[in-house]
């Protein structure tokens, strides 16, 4: 029974250390979860799908576009609001709206810790610089 203070002190230290990420995050204002500011297109207000869907699922959408356009020759995309777009990442996505890849795609990908997409190694964007192969 004489070891009780020692055991309690050890337990407190252990719990404190294990919960470091939680209290450190709560104390540190800088580590607060805020999405990075991304550059939104100036003139266009509506993307090919609602923003929430694009945020979570743009990769699936782009993959569908890729497969349908490249393999089946279906090049037109009918958006949720009835508008028709070309499944063309250069013309539809980056030359009109998201003109700066670094301010839009990469900023968010860096923040989310997602590997950089290699789309723009082939598809032309405003910068047309190849990223090093993955």
């Amino acid at each position: 029974m004489s070891d009780r203070p020692l055991i309690l002190a050890g337990l407190t230290l252990f719990v404190g250390l294990v919960t470091t990420p939680i209290w450190h995050g709560a104390l540190d204002r800088k580590a607060a979860l805020t999405a990075p500011p991304i550059q939104l297109p100036a003139q266009e207000k509506q993307c090919v799908a609602p923003a929430s869907y694009m945020r979570s699922s743009h990769m699936q959408l782009l993959e569908h576009w890729r497969d349908e356009a490249a393999r089946d020759g279906r090049r037109q995309f009918v958006a949720f609001n009835g508008k028709i777009y070309d499944k063309n990442p250069t013309r539809t996505c980056v030359t009109q709206c998201h003109t700066d890849r670094k301010e839009f795609c990469e900023r968010c990908h860096d923040y989310a810790g997602v590997s950089d997409p290699d789309c723009w190694n082939c598809h032309n964007d405003s910068q047309r610089t190849s990223r090093s192969a993955p």
Binding site: A70, D72, G73, T90, T95, N121, N124, R128
Partner: protein, 259 residues
Amino acid sequence: MKITRKDFLRISGLGLLAVAGRKAVRAVAERTSERASEQTSAPFAKQVRWGMAIDLQKCRQKDGCDRCIKACHSTHNVPQFSDRAHEVKWIWKEPFKNVFPAAQTGYTREFFGNLPVLLVCNHCDDPPCQDVCPVKATWKREDGVVTIDFHRCIGCRYCMAACPYGARSFNWLDPRPAIATVNLDFPTRTKGVVEKCNFCEERLAKGLGPACAESCEEKAIVFGDLEKPDSEVRRLLRSRFAVQRQPELGTGPAVYYIV
């Protein structure tokens, strides 16, 4: 267990009926699924078979003319490497004696041997490149265009080995620095994929003809539907003598040379 003759006949009769019924059901199901797949299948027009006829005499009217090559390569962002080892080509010229080694005698070689012949991918009926591709990155579309999905190409170059016409090129280097002006409407390629002439499928989708045929002032390149008996290319192939490259290989090239 004892089985009477009556039972035996009854059981075998029922068994036969069941087999016949299953066959009928399967046939009906197949027909309906066929119809469904027809409706959802790709929008490439069936009964179209794109092909090309190149009039060699018209082609060599202007000495050293390379308008079609320039038009194609600028339309498709084909890189220009000075080192032949890195060369990428969609449309190019070779001397007659190399293109048609069997189609000449010692006498014709004197005159024809070194005349340039324009070459593109033959868009074969039975393309060997498609058969060897391990990832199905290259395939023949329903309209006969042999196309490549650059996303899927892993750069193994089996197709280059399989193609008897040398129509395919490999990107050994990043092609972007070797493209003078980039056409935004066509993607460039990346290091490690194979590319070749695509019969301008991106222009066909817009109802345009291939860039090479359009750029030729002599109208030496005629493009059209080989399935349509009254198309210009069919009329030409009816009226003039034309050959294919190495037809004995059974690949069925869709590019004809009027000699």
